[in-house]
Symmetry: C2
Subunit: 375 residues, 2 copies
């Protein structure tokens, strides 16, 4: 056990699982039957609220898929691309790479446009690639690459994808709910996100916002039973039920989390709280001498990567464990070419939580004998 | 809303989601980081307890897979059968059929041995089939076919499967935790079950108890990324973590549920409670004039199928809704050739709950004007 009493959970400055509100967790203190009217209405309400969050166009529908965000991505890629389809993936981090891995295991033909992890994929490269390869039918990109926290311009890509009559898939795992995303305006056909990100539910399922007409045209493409997106949608539209036992408790928590997002003032207000968490973090960290990995104009307010300080006494493991013992959980990096760690700004955390973390980091540097050049 | 106050959940006499203890649900009132030592130790504890429940042989290991039980079945079938493998499925219900569907979507060669839903697959037919088709590499069967509640003799099949040097896969979704199963004695290579069945956790993940040597020999067979059983095991064995965001809350609930199973006295005591629920149900239902679908010698104590009463005033939907309004949720049938409904005996329910249901059924028959011939 840590030095903390187990009665107070640590604050999670991570990409997820995140800190959630007590009221969201308390919504799980019930057992509902999956065929019960109350539960079916819960699922319906969740789906309607999700479509509304995506801009509310009636061209879209919401599909809930058990499992983590990766399950939602795999459900989408393995269900909506025809056998003769070809997927272009814009890659500037681990989650772009993961889409390629999923495509590979399902033997989906791909073209990877890879960029450095601190670089936004250039729209003109997408344009050139689509011009040069008419076999490409689908384009996929990650909105906020959680690897670094970089924000990719999904609306710009969307215009290019649409002009080339391709289907557009966006992994908005860590941005949906915190950045306003208008599905129709971005020309998105499939947006994938997860219960335990900026909507602040508990982990247990992912969701796909799909252009209904596009989804309906995918019959026969699914390469699995459990992750068959069209069949899952047909179940939800038919009798309102999941095809297989749903995570009822996680869904009850999610409905409460969606209500609390509304009470907070919606996506813009939530985004402001996260931005403030980010701003306090960045200012304090830079003052202490830490350097962010992504340059300011490309940085989002979801999660920030910082270089390891260049000091012989710094060890990330030691730093992490000391912060964890003080009640603050940060996250290791996931970069291929740079030693970084990450601090998340999302979940049910506010300025006071962030300031407490900054104080703890300052103390920890002293404890470790790490003196940094102050900015 | 029903006529019940929302403050008291209905009792779930269903195949799942089930009624769970309040303390199990309260274990979810926390947010743990998925890389946190406390959480990693929770996962380790769960895996050890699961192996112990399967007989404790050190030849076995436990793999946790996000999603419902079907996800666990698909993870197993799509990960452990080589491309040139052939799967024989003993089928006497919907869950046997589902394994065939999964095999079909992954283009796994199969042989289905189909039996009537009220009939146990004959071991000698399995013997003959394996003698006659040396291409068969894997055999799968459902232990308790939740379709009807029939119990298939997995130990008898296991001896035949082993003698033919095939790999043996058992779907013990609705029996594990309520029936003693010794994996080694039954010659089981892969047993699949789910968090929300007789261990009385909340839904959100399934688990596979695998013979480690068998699992290790499956490299390269996985047909998906999310449901890759070997990779998931390697993650859990390596740094103790899930590969992708785990359902932390459902796992905390499951650990508590496993403790409560131990406190109840283990599988035998739990089985006795369920058997008593079954016995009270069966006695009372037969007294009222209902007839069970499965004959006594083949019936389990997990769930019982009853024929619709042969009376013009009986409508299942009306019967179901009246019982639901009284606070008791039963379940429709899933049979191809007979009109039945089901009453489950599992979950955190005891004799008092069952007696309350029986009283409600008697009252409902009077309300509906359904007079049955008393036995």
């Amino acid at each position: 056990m840590s030095t903390l009493s187990p009665w107070k959970d640590k604050a999670l400055f991570t990409p997820g699982p995140l800190t959630t509100s007590l009221t969201t967790k308390q919504a799980m203190l019930r057992d509902l039957g999956s065929r019960d009217t109350e539960f079916i209405n819960t699922v319906k309400d969740i789906r309607q609220r999700l479509v509304a969050l995506g801009g509310g166009s009636d061209e879209y529908t919401a599909v809930l898929v058990q499992g983590s965000g990766t399950f939602g991505i795999e459900a989408t890629l393995s269900s909506v691309i025809p056998p003769e389809g070809k997927l272009l993936v814009l890659v500037n981090g681990a989650y772009g790479e993961r889409m390629l891995k999923i495509a590979a295991v399902h033997r989906i033909s791909t073209l990877a446009l890879r960029f450095e992890e601190n670089t936004i994929p250039a729209p003109e490269m997408l344009e050139t690639a689509l011009d040069g390869d008419p076999a490409i039918t689908h384009v996929a990109v990650v909105h906020c690459e959680t690897t670094t926290g970089i924000i990719n311009p999904i609306e710009t890509y969307g215009e290019i994808v649409r002009r080339h009559h391709c289907t557009y898939i966006v992994d908005a795992m860590s941005s949906f709910g915190a950045y306003p995303i208008d599905l129709a305006a971005c020309g998105i056909d499939y947006l994938v996100s997860s219960a335990n990100k900026c909507i602040e539910g508990v982990p247990g399922f992912s969701f796909v916002l799909a252009r209904t007409a596009a989804l309906k045209a995918t019959r026969g493409y699914a390469r699995t039973l459990s992750l068959d997106l069209l069949a899952q949608w047909e179940g939800l539209e038919g009798d309102g039920q999941f095809r297989f036992t749903p995570p009822t408790h996680a869904l009850l928590a999610f409905q409460q989390a969606l209500r609390e997002l509304e009470w907070e003032g919606g996506v813009l207000s939530r985004g402001q709280r996260y931005w403030l968490n980010y701003d306090i973090t960045l200012t304090a960290m830079q003052k202490m001498g830490f350097r962010p990995y992504i340059e300011a104009s490309q940085r989002g307010y979801i999660i920030t990567s910082f270089y390891y300080p260049n000091h012989p006494n710094f060890s990330f493991q030691n730093f992490y464990e000391r912060l964890s013992a003080k009640g603050h959980v940060i996250y290791p990096g996931k970069l291929s070419h740079a030693d970084c760690f990450r601090i998340g700004h999302v979940g049910r955390l506010n300025s006071a939580d962030v300031r407490a973390l900054m104080t703890a980091i300052a103390e920890t540097l002293v404890e470790m004998g790490v003196e940094l050049e102050k900015v």
